[in-house]
Symmetry: C2
Subunit: 258 residues, 2 copies
């Protein structure tokens, strides 16, 4: 039977938005982060200082006594990075929504995924207690360990396999990244006409608030769902200088309308 | 000099989402709504009952003693509706984001626009106190009256002319209607794979929360802004059955990325 080991010392591999916010949450929860790794000296130094950890820029200096190694780097470099990481039984996880768990299979006997389903910026504190953590691990005991660890910082921990996680990540791109880009477009339209984006903030808050208790398709409002073609024509005329925005306006309106 | 008159009795012309929520807010603020008009008997009866008003289905029965008439009907029927409305000096406003104020010029000597910049559903109570009200009126004293009235239900009242209002409405379509549709798409992707939309709710809340203090373009996250083409390829493969969603995914990602 495999041993369930407890997580005490953590090494953060990465110093971007996820590493920064997750690092802060872990320190707040009482964990000891011994090292922060980044190829870029300035990045590792910056975050290590915040977390009271040592900065490292080479994997040769890795603290092998740590019990958990968290890889929080860009999705497309996780696989090549994992090839350089040689551990024995220490727990190693990545935080990606799209990368398979088994890219870590040669790193250690214990590996998995710790995917916090949230949007992270360096300077905006995230409430991890309400952030869903999607976990996956290679053995039953590793899953137990990871669950226990995740529950120590979040009330919303879910076992999600790699295929499900990909779907959730795709859905999150629409719900978060694309809706944020819609905010960006609206801000640029207002700016072009010397109007303040502030006027839209209560509307954005209400739009996001509505779907907490109602299905979003039932909450759809606006000219497209009303099939108000006259207003849509007016909008397209107002956008006439901007071909790309017209395309987006038409395509999304048609998709609402269909 | 024109007289600034006070608003006491109100007639609501319309019984849809805006009329419902605005009517409730007005009653809560102590206004007397004497009538609710709708062509559909059931609609006028339903809302009139809630507001302790009389339902009417014909303009012949209009309470001419009311001091304010609020037209809250679909944008594209406001102009033809206004042609049937013959008042003298009573104040008449519409609540539309796109319709010019002067479509009401033959209805009364006092007319304007009272546009609450919010998304309204019949069953979701709206906090009018924080809802921006864009107002416009045909004379200085009418503007004063309307400002005073609007301020009695909202802390955020702004004078906005018809051209600016159209721009704000267009921006609102992106910020609200289109972002809500992005939620709908994400919910449909999850449903197709038997996953719960609940898992995305903290993410959606955080995405909307971030832009309260940060410009949305600075808050953009996800594969498109990272130029993570591998992840975007994976997402397009996952969407392969759905040509329309692939189009939206590509177009919005390119627009983020450019």
């Amino acid at each position: 039977m495999e041993t369930t080991f407890s997580i005490q010392k953590i090494v953060l591999l990465g110093a971007g938005n996820v590493a920064t916010q997750l690092g802060k949450a872990l320190v707040d929860a009482g964990y000891l982060i011994t090292q922060v790794y980044s190829q870029t000296k300035r990045s590792s130094a910056r975050l290590a200082k915040k977390l009271n950890a040592a900065p490292i820029t080479s994997l040769k200096n890795l603290d092998q006594t740590a019990t958990l190694f968290i890889i929080a780097i860009k999705d497309d470099v996780i696989a090549p990075f994992a090839k350089q990481l040689k551990l024995t039984t220490q727990f190693v996880v990545h935080t990606s929504g799209t990368v398979q768990a088994d890219v870590l299979k040669d790193c250690s006997k214990n590996f998995g995924v710790f995917y916090p389903l949230q949007t992270f910026s360096k300077d905006k504190i995230v409430d991890f207690a309400t952030t869903p953590i999607c976990i996956e691990a290679n053995t039953k005991s590793a899953t137990e360990t990871l669950t226990y660890f995740a529950k120590s910082i979040s009330r919303n921990v879910q076992k999600i396999n790699s295929e499900q996680r990909k779907i959730i990540h795709l859905a999150a791109v629409f719900a978060c990244n694309f809706s944020n880009h819609m905010y960006t477009i609206s801000a640029s339209i207002l700016k072009e006409h010397h109007l303040s984006f502030d006027i839209l903030k209560p509307l954005i808050a209400e739009t996001a608030d509505k779907i907490k208790i109602n299905p979003p398709d039932k909450m759809q409002t606006g000219p497209a769902i009303r099939k108000d073609y006259k207003t849509m024509e007016t909008h397209l005329k107002l956008l006439k200088k901007n071909k790309e925005l017209k395309k987006i306006y038409k395509l999304v309106s048609e998709h609402i309308n269909h």
